[in-house]
């Protein structure tokens, strides 16, 4: 009990510190000690990444810390994943998200950040990369039974495609099936409302908050 609590605290600390090696070592230790992996994630790693989000909001953490912690989280999850999948994989996901930079746009720094933070926060993220055709977002979301589609755009010209995707969903009678979140430098809350998106994230941490709020599986972890 004592050991477990100490390990959980160390897991959170490793994520906050961005110490990938320790985060992985602790994940292996959790497996060796046969700890409840639910608890390991929920009370160990996740509080760490949540703390990182708070430090970001306070203005203490900047992008290098944010992205490093997200990478640590990914690394720890990679160690745990095989055992998780062997037991009860699906229940450990906060939801499935298809994400990508929209057709015509090759900028993906912002999108990568959002994808990392979402995945660090317990979502299963399917990152389609940059310059992604509209139909591909929809096909992939259907194929993987995702709940959320996240669209990034850095250019005002390609931003228009975010609206087209929503139109396309309507045409195919799938609008109610997926939540659509939009982001990117030129995107504003007003734009999101104009095209009928389900939400707009100003930065990576706010995208996570948004996804947690609208995810049908919220709090189910």
């Amino acid at each position: 009990m004592e050991l477990k609590n100490r390990l959980l605290r160390m897991m959170a600390a490793a994520i906050v510190e961005g110490d990938k090696e320790t985060a992985e070592v602790l994940a292996r230790k959790a497996l060796a000690e046969k700890l409840d992996l639910h608890e390991v994630i929920d009370k160990g790693y996740l509080p760490g990444i949540q703390k990182v989000g708070e430090l970001w909001e306070k203005g203490e953490y900047f992008l290098p810390e944010l992205i490093t912690s997200a990478e640590c989280m990914k690394a720890a999850m990679a160690v745990l994943r095989p055992s998780l999948e062997a037991s009860h994989a699906n229940s450990l996901s906060r939801g499935k998200i298809v994400i990508g930079t929209i057709e015509g746009d090759i900028h993906d720094i912002g999108k990568n950040l959002v994808a990392s933070m979402l995945s660090a926060n317990g979502f299963e993220v399917m990152d389609l990369g940059a310059d992604v055709k509209l139909t591909r977002f929809i096909d992939k979301a259907q194929e993987t039974q995702a709940e959320i589609i996240c669209l990034s755009a850095l250019l005002t010209t390609t931003m228009l495609n975010q609206g087209r995707l929503i139109e396309l969903l309507k045409e195919r009678g799938l609008r109610e099936r997926f939540k659509v979140l939009v982001g990117g430098a030129p995107v504003t809350r007003k734009w999101a409302a104009d095209i009928g998106a389900d939400g707009y994230g100003e930065n990576a941490p706010s995208a996570v908050k948004l996804a947690l709020e609208i995810s049908p599986k919220r709090g189910q972890l």
Partner: protein, 489 residues
């Protein structure tokens, strides 16, 4: 007479310059660059470089870089539309041009950005024509009222018609070069004449880190073959797409540019190439690319110094702002950039008119920046000896009641020694208040109408207008649109 000393600022010691170049050369030899364009890879292969056709990686040996540097002119001339007025690009000559390819325009009245259209491009081109201190024009706005697949050639189509100044431009698609070249050749009176008297510079941006995309390498090759100068716009973002330290970013910058230079010289030996860039000190909070950051300007000044050391003409994106309106930030970042660029002796300085990083143009700001550029020019003219003796003879004539205002000496020199501003406010408080207590941006806004209403546009001949229209329409039809927006001015 003692001639004016040209004020100059250099940030790097010679040892540091050589160290950065040394690492860049090693980087090209060991790590190499990714070259997406098959033709460019073939050129490298032909030159005996090691080319990995699976991963598109090309290792570039120092010898090729040395040969490329040797065959690139250290200075060249670019000519205006008439072919009569020449501008030297090289040595410490400084030429300002509006920041290129903005996708938005700042509307002064609403204080909001909107999509630019044909009329905005025409107005911007005409205003640039009227700006004394902005020597070149650029295809500064992307017109939103034509399809994207002809947006590159359409900008040039309008710019060529409404301003006589040399043009900084670039392609958005691999097939964009052909119609753009045809327009330039038509205006110049043939491709040979265009080669002899360049009218435009084409920007080409490598993708950091160390990658030349298919589109940009194609632009280098097409330009080199036509004898058109290319401007290499390496654009690392510190800590995101390039090393976080300024010196580390410079190594990557130099390597990317030298790889581009090699492509140019392999495709067209002797073609002018400008060692340029648009790097930025990446903002670790916002994930943005501040062009007004002092560190961005330090990177610019440093690589320009390195470019000069290599004997190349230089370029930088300076004299622009990240502000969203024409406010204090906009003035401070633009002035700092324009002055530092001039002090660094950078040959082509792109940025005038730009706000919101590199995404928006402001007509008001073009006029404000014209005045900033004028001040920068005045600064680098330095202080000259005008008379011998300097002042003694003036004091001989000076009685207890006299002053200098009425002296012929004053009248002779005041306009030469001092620049007269027209937008900066130098009124007394009361005079300023009586004129409506306006900001500089407000005054610039009023000036736009005076310029556009008061002067006839400097148009191309009717025959050339017709010819450009034919080329543009052909390009539009091939790309699926049968008509073009109406041109009004």
């Amino acid at each position: 007479m003692i001639r004016a000393k040209r004020p100059k600022v250099e940030l790097l010691s010679r040892t540091f310059v050589e160290k950065i170049i040394g690492e860049a050369l090693l980087l090209l030899e060991r790590q190499g660059v990714f070259v997406e364009n098959a033709e460019a890879r073939a050129l490298f292969k032909l030159a005996g470089m090691s080319v990995d056709e699976t991963h598109f990686r090309v290792l570039i040996r120092q010898k090729l870089i040395e040969e490329s540097l040797a065959s690139t002119p250290s200075a060249f001339k670019i000519y205006d539309r008439s072919g009569k007025k020449a501008f030297t690009i090289g040595r410490d000559h400084v030429h300002f041009d509006p920041g290129s390819a903005a996708v938005k325009i700042l509307d002064h009245t609403t204080r909001q950005e909107r999509r630019p259209e044909t009329g905005d491009l025409i107005r911007l081109s005409r205003l640039t024509e009227a700006c004394e201190h902005i020597h070149f024009q650029s295809t500064a706005l992307v017109s939103g009222d034509v399809p994207e697949n002809i947006a590159d050639s359409y900008r040039l189509f309008l710019s060529l018609q409404f301003s006589s100044k040399p043009i900084v431009t670039g392609t958005f698609r691999t097939t964009g070069f052909r119609p753009m070249f045809e327009m330039l050749a038509a205006v110049r009176g043939g491709s040979d004449e265009l080669r002899r008297k360049p009218l435009a510079i084409f920007d080409a941006c490598p993708s950091p880190p160390l990658k030349w995309s298919n589109l940009t390498a194609q632009s280098l090759i097409d330009c080199a073959r036509a004898g058109i100068p290319s401007e290499l716009i390496s654009m690392g973002l510190t800590g995101a797409t390039s090393p976080v330290t300024i010196a580390g970013t410079l190594v990557q910058h130099v390597a990317e540019n030298l790889a581009g230079l090699a492509i140019c010289q392999l495709a067209g030996k002797g073609v002018p190439v400008i060692f340029g860039g648009s790097p930025a000190s990446f903002d670790m909070r916002k994930g943005t690319t501040p062009m007004g950051a002092i560190e961005t300007m330090m990177i610019d000044m440093s690589y320009a110094q390195i470019g000069k050391h290599l004997g190349l003409p230089t370029h930088a994106y300076m004299g622009l702002s990240d502000a969203k309106i024409n406010d204090s930030q906009s003035g401070l970042e633009t002035s700092m950039g324009a002055v530092l660029a001039a002090l660094a002796g950078i040959n082509v300085v792109s940025g005038a008119g730009m706000v919101d990083f590199e995404s928006a143009q402001s007509l008001e700001k073009i006029l404000i920046d014209n005045e900033i550029c004028g001040m920068a020019y005045r600064l680098i003219e330095g202080v000259a000896q005008r008379d011998e003796p300097l002042a003694l003879s003036l004091f001989e004539k000076l009685g207890p009641e006299s002053q200098f205002l009425t002296m012929p000496h004053t009248r002779k020199w005041y306009r030469i020694e001092h620049m007269l501003t027209s937008l900066a406010d130098r009124d007394t408080y009361d005079a300023w208040a009586a004129q409506g207590a306006k900001s500089m941006a407000d005054r610039a806004h009023e000036r736009i109408d005076q310029i556009l209403g008061g002067t006839a546009p400097n148009l191309l001949s009717y025959d050339l207008q017709k010819e450009l229209r034919r080329i543009m329409l052909d390009d539009a039809v091939i790309n699926g649109s049968g008509s073009l927006p109406e041109i009004r001015f």
